[in-house]
Subunit: 323 residues, 2 copies
């Protein structure tokens, strides 16, 4: 069994034994529902892997690992209201199932639950961990706000987009990793390196997500082209806009609104333009650069070498690559 | 100058110097807007008064005082979405001014900001303070959920109503007072007494709020009868329902829906029934009982006697009574 799979087991077991009150039902049932959603548990596993670089007594890291996972699920609950998203991990979102008010209030209770879990870390580490968590949490909110701002704007630069996904996605990976490192007893220098590792990994991860939405494998069960149909400003779209001539830009801007086209035709038209502009290649290049930068940060950590190797493997598997 | 007014000054000054980033504007502007709303700053002043029972260096209590005020304002932002409330303290609510998404996300950022402020307390007190705060915060959510549940129900008992307002209103007063006491170095026994003091005070305060909504002085600038027009299940309404005969109950249940009546007629009809059933008197009795129980808890505190007196005076002034 892979070390990261073992950690995933620990995390799942810890999450499963968190006991929510029965009442009021409309506050707590949606929390259990959203926490059972599964997913990769990427953030808590990263936290545990970072902890494992420095220490063995994995139990000490579980409450904080659970805290970042509960926090992540809180953001999904509230994002789904703001984005009017009815499906989450193949099931109705809390917002779709119970409505806006329940999703707001259950989300609030989850954010508080994340802090309750965080409060279980050793008192000696609590001030530092709380500070990292708070900074991370508010940056995730900033990222979500920029994301919504960008949807209202005509033009978004690649630099702005990268900053947005850094806030919305990468900083939470970084927060998880740094909290794990602090709990394990890492030096400040190692915390800084691990932070940069997780930021770059998070950017690579999000760009890959953007790429797979248009170029993924339908056999993996995910519908292709959702971003294109919504006219979303992804890395692909923003990069294409910056490389396109005026006529092509018009196609990129308007295709998703064209009522004379079927969905398949819209997707085909935009992807043909992406291909012409070599957007998939440019995106893969950017992913590779970010991923290499991430791995480079792991060199020179003052950590158990075999655990560094495990972390590297996990990061590699995330990117869907063979090592 | 009253001691409590001095504390209020400290709190206002501390709140005023909290510096929010400029960007993203739609995340942070609503936070400043809602924090400028003023109000009595009841919760932070209570925290400071409780701290002052045991210690003099008031500055040490300011971050936690600010945290409970920011938390309180966070709950207002989200409650206003759920209650579809367009006016808050005589101004457009954040929800009315910027819409649902901004109110959700700015509210989230405020909750996180409350924890950031809380993180400033002395490390020795942080675990205990965080625990009280977390428990309080989730109970406030429970109270809000019960409040919404009750609006959907035909029948709510007085006991259920009291439990709901304890959660929605009183526990936050209690949390503030207990956090102040912990920071000041109070014994566990004193913390328990102060908790009960604040719970009873909070109940008295909320019942008085219910009473004033129907029987307040219009000259104080607050419109009378809002709860009656909304058909809200207040202490007055629930008590009236439990004392009314079948015919009277029907009047209480349906008057606010009767399209043949003007607002003034609706209010007059319900209040006539309240008067007949002696509801104002029963409510005042209940307020007096709760308030006396609150004050009784202050006897026997191991605290500076003149500061106990200040706290008593402040509580008395809250209830709009001369001492």
């Amino acid at each position: 069994m892979l070390y990261s799979d073992k950690l995933l087991d620990y995390v799942e077991n810890y999450l499963a034994q968190i006991d929510f009150p029965e009442e009021p039902e409309l506050l707590y049932t949606p929390i259990s529902y959203s926490m059972q959603g599964g997913g990769k548990r990427l953030r808590p596993v990263l936290l545990m892997l970072a902890y494992g670089l420095y220490a063995d007594e994995y139990r000490a890291a579980l409450p904080a690992a659970a805290a970042v996972e509960v926090f992540h699920n809180f953001t999904l609950l509230h994002d789904d209201i703001m984005d009017n998203a009815l499906i989450r991990r193949g099931k109705p979102s809390v917002y779709a199932k119970w409505g806006k008010n329940v999703a707001i209030l259950s989300g609030d209770a989850m954010l508080i639950e994340a802090y309750r879990l965080l409060g279980q870390v050793a008192p000696a580490h609590l001030p530092a961990v709380l500070e990292v968590f708070n900074r991370t949490a508010v940056e995730v909110c900033e990222g979500q706000q920029y994301d919504m701002d960008f949807e209202e704007r005509q033009k978004v630069s690649v630099v702005e987009y990268m900053r947005m996904i850094e806030l919305k996605t990468a900083v939470l990976l970084a927060g998880a990793v740094v909290i794990g490192a602090i709990l394990g007893g890492a030096s400040e220098e190692d915390c800084r390196r691990l932070r940069r590792f997780a930021i770059e990994l998070g950017l690579a991860f999000q760009l890959q997500d953007d790429l797979l939405d248009s170029y993924g494998d339908e056999r993996l069960g995910k519908a292709i082209g959702g971003d294109i149909l919504e006219g979303k400003k992804t890395y692909l779209m923003i990069t294409a806009m910056s490389h396109a001539n005026e006529e092509q830009r018009e196609v990129l801007r308007t295709t998703h609104l064209d009522a004379t086209l079927t969905d398949a035709e819209k997707i085909a038209r935009v992807k043909a333009l992406y291909d012409l502009l070599e957007i998939p290649h440019l995106t893969e290049q950017q992913i590779a650069i970010r991923f290499e930068r991430a791995l480079a940060q792991l060199e020179g950590l003052e950590a158990l070498p075999e655990r560094v190797e495990e972390l590297k493997q996990y990061a590699t598997s995330l990117m869907g690559r063979k090592k």
